[in-house]
C-alpha cells in the first residue's frame, strides 16, 4: 500500500457525513456571491448592452443617451480598459468587442445606482452595425470549412489492416446537442477597491487563480494587486471554469474607475444567451467488426461546435478523442478532431469535458450496430470490453489499468439488478402490451482522471493550527456543491488524528493559496486532498516530536488518534489541545503550506500519445424504461448502478455525486433541448430556449422511480489520497444506459433485428419518430436532433396510424 493511499487507525475519511454547509443551506444562511450585495454599502449595478444579431461589425457606439438616464453613473467601453482587452487566455475573446460574434454578445456595460437604472441605461445605448454573414449551426460551419484551433489526430495500429480483417463494416453519422449548465446560481461577482487601490473580487468561479490573472491583465496590474475569493457556488458543472473571468473583470474595472463596489450578476436569460455550454458534436464514422462482433477498426472524425472563440474547446476535443474508446478495446483506430467556429456562444467545459461526447459516439455506434450484427447489445458490449492482463492500451497509448474492475462492476450490476429475471419479465410484458414497451439496457464507464495537460495536476493548501488546538484549513479548490470542502475537512482530521469538529475550512482565496488549478476534471479531491494531507503531515510530524518528548517515547512510536496522543504500548495520554499548547510554547511552527503533484503523467499533445491519466474510474449502470407507443413519452422505472470511487472519502457525498451526475446526464441525453433560430429572419442566431420555461431540466418526474446506487467495495486506489478516486464527472456517463434503453424500447415496437436510430436529446418526439421507423422496419433518422432527423422520417410519418 502506498503512503498516499494508506489510512491510519480510526480515519475520519470514509465516514458518511452530510455536506459541511448543510445546516446553512437549509436555513438560508449560506451566503452566495450575490447575497453579499445586500450587506455592502453604495454598490453600483452593472448591466450588459447586448446586441441582438448573430454577426456584425460595430460602426458606432453612442453612450451619451444612457448617461442621461437617471441613476446611470458610467458606461464601460473598450476605451476604459487600461490593460489587455481580453476576457480569455488565447487573445481571441475581446472583453469589449469591435465585432458582434453571436446573438446577445455584450459590447458595453452600464453602471447604475440601481439595477433598474442600469437596465434602462443599457437599453438607451445606441449601437450602429454593419451586418455580416453568419454561421449559426454546425452543419453551416462544416459546409463553409469554418474551423479554429488544433486539429488533433489520434492513431493506433493499422486501420487498413483492421478493416481488411473485418467481417462487417458499417458507416454512419451522428449529430447531437450540447447542454446548458443551468447552475441554479447564475454568474455573479462583486468587486471592491481597498485603500491602496487594490481589487478584491468575490466571484462565483471554479478557477479563482485564473479569474485573478485575467482581471489583472485587463486592469494592467500585477496579480498581487488582485485578490479573488469564492465563498461557494450555487452549482458550477464546468460553466464557471473559464466563463466568470471576463464578467469579474467588468466588475473590477467598474470598481477601479468609480472607486465604488460594483455588483455584476446575470439574470437567467442573460446567462443562457451569453455564457458557453457543453459542446454539441458531429461524428462521421466507419467501424469494422470480426465475425464474432469484436471491433477491428474505427475511423472517425469528430467536429465540436466551439462557438465564436476557442475558450476550452481544444482540451475538450482532446478529452473527447481520448474517450471514444470508453470501455472497449479498439486495436486499430484513426480518430480526427476539428473545432467548428460558429456565431454562437463560446462553448466551454461541462462535467465530463468532452469525454461524454466521445463516449456517446461509440455507445451510439454499438447500439445501432448490435441488431445488424445479430447480437444482443449487452453481449456486443461485453465482447469488446478491455480485458485485464493482456497489455491492452488505449488508442492514445496508455495501458488500461484495473480493467478487471470493469467486469466486476458489470457483474455486480447484473446480479443486484436481477437483470436476467427482469429481461424475461420485460419480454413477457412487451408481448402482452401492444401500446407500451419496456426495455432494460446496461452500459459501462471508463473515465480517465487527471487534467490532460500535465502542468495543471498540482494542488496547494495552507493549514493553520491555533494555540487552542482548533484547526483552519485553506486549499485551492472551490466548493460548488460537490462536497469538496467536506472531504478536505475529513482528510485534515484523518491526517492530524483529531475529531472533525476541531477543523474548520476557510473560503477559497487567491491570497491564501496561489497559482491554483481550476476545480475541474473531477480532480478537486485528488489534488487538494493531496496538498491538505501534505500540510497536515508536516504539522503532525512536528507535533509528534513534541508529544514524543512529553510521553517519553520515540516519535515514530507515537500515534494521534481521535485527538489523543499515545505512545505504542503505553497508557500515557496527551490530549490534542495540550499538545498544541505545549508546541506553541516550544516555538514550534503551527502552520504549514502543503503541495501535491500527481506523479507519473506524461502527454504529447502533438503526437496525441502518452499516459495523461493517473488512473481510470469505472462504473456500470442498468436502466429500465417504459415507453408509450402513442406519444413517445417515457418513464425511467428503475436504475441500478455500481460505481468505483476507490475507497470513498465520504460515502454520502459520493453517492450524491453519482446520483446527481446520472440524472444530469439523463437530462442531456433525453430532455434538455437547446434550440437556436436557424432561419434567415431578423432573429437568426437567437437562442430560442433562453428561459427555464423553454429549456427544461430534469425535475422530480425524471427521477428514476427506483434508484439503487452502490459504491464498489475494497477498491483502494494506490495513486490517490487515502485510496479514493475522483467522482465528479464519471457518473454522468452512466446515463448512456437511459438512451440505450429508450432505443431498445422503441425497437420493441417493430420487428426484431431492426437498427434504431435515435436523436439526441431523445425527447418524447424523437422517441416517437424512432418508434415509427421501427414499426416500418427501417432505420430512423440520421441521429440528428429534430430538424435533420427529420425531414425524411417525418415526411411519411403522417401516413401511419401509429397504433
Amino acid at each position: 500500500m502506498s503512503h498516499l493511499s494508506e489510512r491510519p487507525e480510526k480515519p475520519v475519511v470514509g465516514v458518511p457525513l452530510p455536506h459541511e454547509s448543510a445546516v446553512q443551506h437549509v436555513t438560508g444562511a449560506a451566503l452566495y456571491t450575490d447575497d453579499l450585495v445586500y450587506r455592502t454599502k453604495d454598490v453600483l449595478h452593472a448591466y450588459p448592452v447586448q446586441v441582438m444579431t448573430a454577426h456584425a461589425r460595430i460602426t458606432a457606439l453612442r453612450t451619451e443617451p444612457a448617461l442621461k438616464v437617471p441613476g446611470v453613473v458610467r458606461v464601460l467601453t473598450k476605451d476604459d480598459v487600461p490593460g489587455v482587452n481580453d476576457a480569455g487566455m488565447k487573445h481571441d475573446e475581446p472583453l469589449f468587442p469591435d465585432e458582434v460574434m453571436f446573438h446577445g454578445h455584450a459590447v458595453a456595460w452600464v453602471l447604475g445606482e440601481t439595477l433598474e437604472a442600469a437596465r434602462l441605461g443599457a437599453a438607451a445605448v445606441e449601437v450602429e452595425l454593419e451586418e455580416l454573414p453568419s454561421l449559426v449551426t454546425l452543419e453551416e460551419a462544416m459546409a463553409a470549412g469554418s474551423y479554429h484551433g488544433a486539429r488533433p489526430v489520434m492513431e493506433t495500429g493499422d486501420i487498413d489492416a483492421g478493416f481488411a480483417d473485418s467481417a462487417h463494416v458499417f458507416t454512419g453519422e451522428f449529430q447531437f446537442s450540447g447542454q446548458e449548465h443551468f447552475y441554479l446560481e447564475t454568474h455573479a461577482s462583486l468587486a471592491q477597491i481597498d485603500e491602496n487601490g487594490q481589487v478584491f473580487i468575490q466571484s462565483s468561479t471554479q478557477h479563482p487563480s485564473e479569474t485573478q490573472e485575467i482581471v489583472a491583465h485587463v486592469l494592467g496590474v500585477p496579480s498581487h494587486e488582485v485578490t479573488v475569493q469564492c465563498l461557494r457556488m450555487g452549482g458550477g458543472f464546468g460553466g464557471k471554469e473559464m466563463q466568470p473571468h471576463g464578467f469579474a473583470a467588468i466588475a473590477a474595472l467598474g470598481a477601479k474607475l468609480t472607486g465604488r463596489p460594483v455588483r455584476f450578476r446575470l439574470n437567467r436569460t442573460q446567462d443562457l444567451t451569453m455564457s458557453g455550454k457543453r459542446h454539441g458534436f458531429h461524428a462521421r464514422w466507419r467501424i469494422g467488426f470480426d465475425a464474432e462482433g469484436r471491433i477491428q477498426a474505427l475511423d472517425a472524425t469528430l467536429v465540436a461546435d466551439g462557438g465564436w472563440s476557442l475558450d476550452l474547446s481544444e482540451p475538450v476535443l482532446a478529452r473527447a478523442l481520448c474517450h471514444i474508446d470508453n470501455t472497449y478495446w479498439i486495436p486499430n483506430a484513426r480518430v480526427a478532431g476539428l473545432i467548428a467556429k460558429t456565431n454562437t456562444v463560446s462553448n466551454t467545459a461541462f462535467r465530463g469535458f468532452g469525454g461524454p461526447q466521445g463516449m456517446l459516439v461509440i455507445e451510439d455506434i454499438l447500439g445501432r450496430c448490435a441488431p445488424r450484427l445479430g447480437l444482443d447489445p449487452t453481449e456486443l458490449r461485453e465482447r469488446n470490453f478491455y480485458r485485464p492482463g493482456q497489455g491492452q492500451t488505449t488508442p492514445y497509448g496508455q495501458p488500461v489499468t484495473q480493467a478487471e474492475r470493469l467486469t466486476t462492476v458489470w457483474q455486480q450490476v447484473k446480479e443486484s439488478g436481477s437483470i436476467a429475471d427482469r429481461k424475461r419479465e420485460i419480454a413477457a410484458f412487451n408481448a402482452a402490451h401492444p401500446h407500451t414497451k419496456r426495455a432494460l439496457a446496461l452500459t459501462g464507464v471508463k473515465f480517465g482522471i487527471s487534467f490532460n495537460l500535465t502542468a495543471f495536476n498540482q494542488g496547494g493548501a495552507l493549514v493553520l493550527i491555533y494555540k487552542d488546538g482548533s484547526v483552519l484549513i485553506n486549499h485551492g479548490g472551490t466548493e460548488m456543491g460537490q462536497g469538496l470542502h467536506t472531504k478536505m475537512i475529513q482528510v485534515a482530521a484523518t491526517t492530524l488524528g483529531i475529531p472533525v469538529h476541531k477543523v474548520r475550512l476557510a473560503p477559497t482565496r487567491t491570497d491564501k493559496v496561489p497559482n491554483t488549478s481550476a476545480t475541474a476534471a473531477s480532480s478537486g479531491a485528488d489534488l487538494n486532498g493531496g496538498a491538505v494531507k501534505n500540510a497536515c503531515e508536516q504539522l503532525r510530524d512536528r507535533l509528534l516530536q513534541v508529544a514524543a518528548t512529553q510521553l517519553g517515547a520515540n516519535p515514530s512510536d507515537v500515534r494521534i488518534v481521535d485527538g489523543v496522543a499515545r505512545a505504542l504500548g503505553s497508557d500515557k495520554e496527551l490530549a490534542w489541545d495540550d499538545l498544541v499548547h505545549t508546541a506553541y510554547f516550544q516555538r514550534v511552527q503551527l502552520s504549514a503550506a502543503g503541495f501535491y503533484r500527481t506523479e507519473g503523467l506524461h502527454w504529447d499533445a502533438r503526437s496525441f500519445r502518452g499516459s495523461p491519466f493517473k488512473y481510470f474510474a469505472y462504473g456500470a449502470a442498468a436502466t429500465e424504461v417504459e415507453v408509450d407507443g402513442f406519444t413517445g413519452a417515457y418513464r425511467i422505472r428503475r436504475v441500478d448502478i455500481v460505481h468505483d470511487v476507490g475507497d470513498s472519502l465520504s460515502p454520502m457525498i459520493d453517492i450524491g455525486q453519482v446520483e446527481g451526475g446520472f440524472v444530469q446526464g439523463a437530462g442531456w441525453l433525453t430532455l434538455e433541448d437547446l434550440r437556436w433560430d436557424t432561419g434567415d429572419g431578423p432573429n437568426r442566431g437567437r437562442l430560442l430556449t433562453q428561459a427555464a420555461s423553454t429549456y427544461k431540466l430534469p425535475s422530480f418526474s425524471e427521477m428514476p422511480e427506483e434508484f439503487h446506487v452502490t459504491l464498489l467495495e475494497n477498491a483502494t486506489e494506490e495513486g490517490a489520497v487515502y485510496g479514493s478516486k475522483a467522482v465528479g464527472e464519471p457518473p454522468l456517463m452512466l446515463a448512456f444506459s437511459v438512451r440505450e434503453a429508450l432505443r431498445q424500447a422503441a425497437a420493441a415496437f417493430g420487428p426484431a433485428g431492426v437498427s434504431v436510430e435515435l436523436a439526441s436529446p431523445a425527447t418524447p418526439e424523437a422517441v416517437y419518430w424512432a418508434i415509427q421507423a421501427a414499426r416500418r422496419g427501417t432505420a430512423g433518422g440520421n441521429g440528428h436532433a429534430a430538424e435533420g432527423a427529420g425531414g425524411r422520417v417525418r415526411a411519411d410519418a403522417e401516413a401511419l396510424s401509429g397504433a
Binding site: V26, E185, M703
Partner: protein, 491 residues
C-alpha cells in the same frame, strides 16, 4: 387612503413595504432586507428557489400555509399578510449556538438533500407547506403496489413539482420528504392554522406615479377599471410577474382582484357548477375533490403546485394564451364565462370567448367573475397533454375529450384543443366524425385522421408541426385503447 402604509409580516416581524416600488417582487423585497435565503433562479416561477410560505384562507382549517413563488408575487399584493421564509422556519438558538432546525430542514440536512444549497431554501418552503397540509395523513404502504409519488407519510411529491435541483438527482430530497412526520402540537405554524387567516387589506400603494391597488369590493374594482383602461388586472400574478421580470414591463396601475369575495365562490347547483374566477387552482382542486374527473386529470398537469397555489382560472382565461392548459378542458366541458362589468353581467360560452391570439370578447372594463360548467358531465373524459417533461412543462399540444357513449354509440363528443391555433379551439370536425357512430376501432381511426387535420399547428422549439398533428390523432387512438382495456396504458 394613506398611500404608503402597506405592511407585511415576515417571519413574525411587522415590516413596512415602503420604499419598495409598486412593481417590486416579494423576492427582491426580502433580499433588500437581508433575507437572502430566498433566491432567484429564473425569475419566472419555474425553479422554485424563491418559494416562501404565505398564510391563506384554508380548505380544511381556517388557515393554510401555502407555498408560492416570491419572484412572481408583487410584495404590495401581500399588504396585511403573513409570510415565512426558510430563515423563519428554524428557531433561533441562544447566542453562539446553532439554530434549532425545523423538521423538514433537519431531514434535508442529514439525508444529503442539499449539495450546492442554492435551491434548498425554496425546497424547504415547498416541503414545509406540504408538511403543514392538514389533510396529509400517513397511509400504510399497499401490498407490493408502490406509488413513487406519494410517501408513506402522505407526502405528495407534486408539492415539489415546481422546484428544480441541478445537483442531487432528487433521490435524497424525496427521502427527506417521505421521512417527515406530523407537526407537534406546540408547533407555532401548525397552531397558526387554527386561527383565522389575515384579512385582505384594502391597498392603495403608490410611489413615483405608479400604484398597486386592491379595491374593497367588486363594484369598486369595476368602477376603477372603467376609469383606468390602462390598468393591469392581477390575481396570482403568475403571468404578469413574468412580464415584469423578463420583459421589463411596468404598469402605472396594477389592480389585484384575487381576494374579492364575489370572485371566490364555488357552488355545485343542479344543472351547473360555478367556479369563482379568483379561486386558486389548488383551492378548486381541493374543494371540488373529484366532482369533475376531467378537471382532476388536468390539475396535476397544470404547471406546478407552486403556480397552482397562486394561479386562477380567471387568469388563465384572461391572458388567453393558446397554450394555456385549462381552456381545452373547459371547452370540452362546454363551460361558459361570466363577465362582470359596471353595467351588469353577461354569460359567454367559452367557445365564443376567444377572438384571436391573446384576444377575447372581454372588454377592458370587464372582469371574469366565474366559470360555469353545465351538468350532467359526459362520462368518458380524458386530458392528454403532450410536453417534453411530465411535471411543470408547457404543452406542445393539449387535447381534452368529453364523450357520451351509450350502447356502444358515441352520442355526444366535445373536444378541446390547445397549441394548434392562435386560440384554444374546439375540434368541431372531429366531433362530427364521432357523433352518432359506433365506438369502434374503425370510427376511432377515421376520427383520428380528421383530428390530425384540425387547426394549423406550427414548428417551434417545443415540437414540430408534424409531431403536433400526429399527437392529435394519437390522443384519440390512445383514448380508444384506454376505453377498451383494463391493461395499463401509460398516462
Amino acid at each position: 387612503m394613506a398611500k404608503t402604509t402597506a405592511r407585511i409580516t415576515v417571519n413574525g416581524e411587522d415590516t413596512p413595504i415602503a420604499p419598495a416600488a409598486p412593481h417590486t417582487t416579494t423576492l427582491d423585497f426580502l433580499r433588500e432586507r437581508g433575507l437572502t435565503g430566498t433566491k432567484e433562479g429564473c425569475a419566472e416561477g419555474e425553479c422554485g428557489a424563491c418559494s416562501v410560505l404565505v398564510a391563506r384562507p384554508g380548505v380544511n382549517k381556517p388557515t393554510d400555509w401555502v407555498a408560492v413563488n416570491a419572484c412572481l408575487v408583487p410584495v404590495a399584493a401581500l399588504d396585511g399578510q403573513e409570510i415565512v421564509t426558510s430563515e423563519g422556519l428554524a428557531a433561533r438558538g441562544a447566542p453562539g449556538t446553532p439554530p434549532a432546525l425545523h423538521p423538514v430542514q433537519q431531514e434535508m440536512a442529514v439525508r444529503g438533500g442539499s449539495q450546492c444549497g442554492y435551491c434548498t431554501p425554496g425546497f424547504i418552503c415547498s416541503m414545509a407547506a406540504e408538511y403543514y397540509r392538514p389533510d396529509r395523513c400517513a397511509h400504510p404502504e399497499q401490498d407490493g403496489a408502490t406509488d413513487p409519488e406519494h410517501g408513506p407519510n402522505g407526502f405528495d411529491l407534486h408539492a415539489l413539482s415546481g422546484n428544480l435541483c441541478r445537483c442531487t438527482g432528487y433521490r435524497p430530497i424525496r427521502d427527506a420528504a417521505f421521512a417527515v412526520g406530523q407537526p407537534d402540537e406546540d408547533d407555532p405554524l401548525a397552531r397558526r392554522r387554527e386561527q383565522a387567516p389575515p384579512e385582505p387589506a384594502v391597498t392603495d400603494y403608490s410611489l413615483d406615479g405608479s400604484s398597486f391597488v386592491r379595491p374593497a369590493s367588486l363594484a369598486e374594482t369595476l368602477r376603477l377599471l372603467r376609469e383606468r383602461p390602462d390598468a393591469v388586472v392581477v390575481a396570482g400574478s403568475t403571468d404578469w410577474g413574468v412580464e415584469v421580470n423578463l420583459r421589463g414591463r411596468r404598469a402605472d396601475c396594477t389592480v389585484a382582484v384575487d381576494r374579492l369575495p364575489e370572485l371566490r365562490e364555488l357552488r355545485v347547483a343542479d344543472d351547473h357548477i360555478e367556479i369563482g374566477a379568483a379561486l386558486t387552482l389548488t383551492e378548486i382542486e381541493r374543494r371540488l375533490d373529484g366532482t369533475v374527473p376531467l378537471l382532476d386529470e388536468l390539475f396535476p398537469q397544470f404547471a406546478s403546485r407552486l403556480i397552482r397555489n397562486s394561479a386562477t382560472l380567471g387568469g388563465n382565461l384572461g391572458t388567453g394564451s393558446p397554450i394555456g392548459d385549462s381552456p381545452p378542458v373547459l371547452l370540452a366541458l362546454e363551460a361558459s364565462v361570466v363577465l362582470a362589468g359596471a353595467d351588469g353581467e353577461r354569460v359567454v360560452p367559452l367557445a365564443e370567448y376567444f377572438t384571436g391570439y391573446r384576444q377575447s370578447v372581454r372588454r377592458p372594463d370587464e372582469l371574469i367573475r366565474s366559470v360555469r360548467i353545465p351538468l350532467p358531465l359526459s362520462p368518458v373524459t380524458a386530458f392528454h397533454k403532450i410536453a417534453k417533461r411530465r411535471f411543470d412543462d408547457i404543452s406542445s399540444v393539449a387535447v381534452a375529450f368529453a364523450l357520451g357513449i351509450e350502447d356502444g354509440v358515441v352520442r355526444k363528443a366535445r373536444i378541446g384543443l390547445g397549441g394548434v391555433a392562435a386560440t384554444p379551439i374546439r375540434a368541431l370536425d372531429t366531433e362530427a366524425a364521432l357523433e352518432g357512430r359506433p365506438w369502434t376501432p374503425e370510427t376511432a381511426e377515421a376520427a383520428a385522421r380528421v383530428l390530425r387535420g384540425e387547426g394549423t399547428p406550427m414548428d417551434d422549439h417545443r415540437a414540430s408541426s408534424l409531431y403536433r398533428s400526429a399527437m392529435l390523432g394519437q390522443s384519440l387512438l390512445k383514448l380508444y385503447a384506454q376505453t377498451q382495456t383494463t391493461e395499463a396504458v401509460s398516462s
